[in-house]
């Protein structure tokens, strides 16, 4: 989402307004696309029932009518939109409840996982990237480059499985799910510890998977900035190395990194799906997978919309951060 250079909008608020409208249009487009696809799909949730000789075809037909699956596409779409405004967001056949309550819990869990992973990944990547940018060509730069290349070649799937294997063999951590059985009976401090223990494997996988790309981008961005004259001038003034790197160079290199942040939300979501399914973390991932298999249409659409919304929020957050960080954007244009 690149800012347009030729508009006459001068205030940041107006700019954000425009982006919000853009976001709504995106959501609308995503919902339309999802519905369009669902109309192409032969088969529905009740197909399994059709195979069961004990359930008569009339019952199946009646069930379909009850859930409105026999209506034409536009009617179904309107009904779904109405359902969204009512706060239900469609209905899950498998769970027999409105999609919203299902989504809320799972989305919260996914959010917990991804924000933690993102924060950690950036916290680790930025110092490493900044440091090796300043050590260009030396042994630690080469070591870092080689390790990131190697790490990049290991797909997330393999990382997740590998970590799980290690953890199980060493009996180091509880595996599977978000909390252990008997969670409710634990004291609050123990609850936090239990949650944290379950978080370690999924978060580590996500962090390891994102690190190589982040480190590379930070390094590339910093190297460009380090060539700039104002850095040489600052060095001439005798400013110490760490201050130079973190207080002078990094803010200048921040711009492309913030844009990367917005884009990386999408990658992290995809990654979290995999990790959630493999480690049994009850987030949006396993929900989507289940819904795919059982043809729980409105759940699938709901999850797609939820993930689209996350991405848009990530993008908007990146825009806000850009506005704050880069004074040029504030004064020149919107």
């Amino acid at each position: 989402m690149m800012p347009s250079m030729t508009s006459g909008v001068k205030s940041p608020i107006r700019y954000l307004e425009r982006r919000a409208i853009h976001a709504l249009l995106l959501l609308l487009g995503a919902s339309l696309l999802s519905f369009l696809f669902s109309s192409l799909a032969p088969g529905s949730f009740f197909d399994e029932m059709k195979l069961n000789p004990q359930i008569s075809p009339e019952t199946v037909a009646a069930l379909r009518a009850q859930y409105g699956l026999d209506q034409p596409l536009p009617v179904r779409y309107v009904r779904w939109v109405k359902s969204v405004f009512r706060g239900e967001w469609g209905y899950s056949f498998a769970y027999n409840q409105p999609v919203r309550s299902l989504l809320m819990v799972r989305a919260r869990n996914t959010l917990l996982l991804t924000t933690l992973a993102m924060a950690l990944a950036w916290l680790i990547a930025v110092p490493i990237g900044v440091w090796i940018a300043s050590r260009r060509g030396r042994w630690d730069d080469q070591l870092a480059s080689a390790s990131t290349s190697l790490l990049l070649s290991v797909p997330e799937l393999v990382l997740a499985l590998g970590l799980l294997y290690l953890v199980i063999r060493t009996h180091a951590l509880p595996v599977g799910g978000m909390v252990s059985t008997g969670f409710d009976r634990l004291g609050s401090w123990e609850k936090v510890r239990d949650l944290a223990a379950h978080l370690i494997v999924p978060v580590t996988t996500l962090v390891l998977a994102s690190l190589p790309i982040l480190i590379r981008h930070v390094r590339a961005s910093m190297m460009e900035v380090l060539q700039a004259p104002f850095i040489q001038a600052a060095r001439g003034h005798g400013i110490g190395r760490s201050r130079l790197l973190f207080c002078y160079a990094l803010p200048a290199a921040a711009n492309p990194l913030i844009s990367l942040f917005g884009l990386s939300v999408a990658g992290l979501l995809s990654g979290s799906l995999l990790v959630e399914v493999i480690t049994g973390w009850p987030g949006l991932g396993p929900l989507l997978l289940e819904a795919c298999f059982s043809r729980d249409i409105y759940v699938v659409i709901g999850v797609v919309m939820a993930s689209t919304m996350f991405m848009i929020l990530g993008s908007l957050l990146a825009d806000v951060m850009l506005l704050v960080a880069d004074p040029r954007i504030r004064t020149d244009h919107a």
């Binding site: 797909p155 799937l157 499985l161 884009l263 298999f293 797609v304 991405m311």
Partner: protein
């Protein structure tokens, strides 16, 4: 900096040769694999990888490697020892089961093998006693083919749309780039699953394969399209393009002779980056059961065995397809990086 250029060229060639060898081995899976992928040995479930020996029980050194036959332990399930009474030398270019080279030429020579009743399981067996090494090779055919074909789809789509977008500019360009933005920003796995969900679940393997390729390839057109568009935009504003128009050149001529040649380098780099991504996409889908399913092997459904707790914990050799996956990724990424460096330094 000259040494860096030379180093990247050496790395490019080394990685390319490695990849070529890997692809060749997988293409000729029938020859390299000692057994057929569907052959079951119900008496030998979860056999660990066969150890290759050079020194026998009596301490003699053999020049030709040999193996011992695996024998199930009488007392426990799924545990094996080696029968040290007889050595089975590993022979090369043996005659074995019939297969077709690259799908058309019949043959029955295999790269290596041992005499019956021993069997050499280089990567162990699964719960049906099927040789994993052979299954990995055959599975590689599917996974690699999916990756390569999907990459071709993405690149073709990206090339066409990027060309049209960059060449004609205006509203076509605006709308195409907005669409590309949308595609770039979507979480691909969610979209992949959602699209796969909306398509028929139970279809024939070849249909599944084509479907996978189509879906994976179509989702990834945006990045190549953006890159191509940038190149086309800058190339088309060059004065030599204006001069060509002055000679009466058609758009097609200008595209073919002046603009497209600038895109080849970028397209090749993109190809090297996309292939491993798409192979991983197919593996992920098959892992979840939405791609190729049993009995046809794919690295994805081979790895799916690890979803069972006991397999993950006790039978470490079932991780072998992961190694193959990592090697493929490493090879392609090295090629992509080295090629990119060569391009930037202008030697191509």
């Amino acid at each position: 900096m000259k040494t860096r250029k030379k180093n990247s060229k050496k790395r490019l060639i080394a990685a390319a040769i490695f990849l070529l060898a890997l692809h060749l081995a997988i293409l000729l899976a029938g020859f390299v694999a000692p057994y057929e992928p569907a052959v079951q040995n119900r008496d030998f479930p979860y056999v660990p990888p066969t150890r290759i020996h050079f020194i026998d029980a009596r301490g003699h050194l053999h020049l030709r490697p040999f193996i011992y036959q695996a024998v199930a332990r009488a007392d426990s399930l799924y545990e094996y020892t080696e029968a040290r009474d007889q050595e089975f030398p590993v022979r090369f270019f043996v005659s074995g089961s019939k297969y077709k080279i690259a799908g058309w030429m019949p043959s029955h020579t295999h790269l290596f093998g041992v005499n019956a009743p021993a069997q050499v399981f280089l990567a162990g067996t699964d719960n049906y006693g099927r040789d994993q090494f052979s299954r990995i090779l055959y599975g590689g055919q599917i996974s690699l083919a999916a990756g390569l074909l999907a990459t071709t789809v993405s690149l073709l789509l990206g090339l066409c749309l990027g060309c049209i977008s960059g060449f004609y500019a205006g509203w076509i360009d605006e709308s195409a780039m907005r669409l590309a933005e949308l595609f770039l920003v979507l979480p691909w796995l969610y979209v992949l699953l959602a699209v796969r969900a909306f398509l028929p679940l139970h279809i024939s393997p070849s249909q599944t394969f084509l479907l996978l390729v189509a879906v994976i390839g179509t989702i990834g057109w945006a990045r190549p399209a953006r890159l191509v568009r940038g190149i086309v935009l800058s190339a088309r504003s060059r004065k030599y393009v204006t001069a060509s128009r002055g000679f009466g050149a058609s758009d097609a001529y200008i595209l073919r002779r002046h603009v497209l040649p600038h895109t080849y380098g970028t397209l090749l780099t993109q190809a090297a980056l996309l292939v491993p991504q798409y192979v991983i996409a197919e593996v992920t889908l098959s892992f979840f059961g939405l791609g190729l399913s049993e009995p046809k092997p794919s690295w994805g459904n081979l790895l799916a065995n690890l979803q069972q707790y006991n397999v993950l914990v006790s039978y470490w050799w079932m991780f072998a397809p992961a190694l193959a996956l990592v090697l493929v990724s490493l090879g392609y990424l090295t090629v992509a990086n080295a090629f990119h460096q060569q391009l930037q330094s202008g030697s191509i």
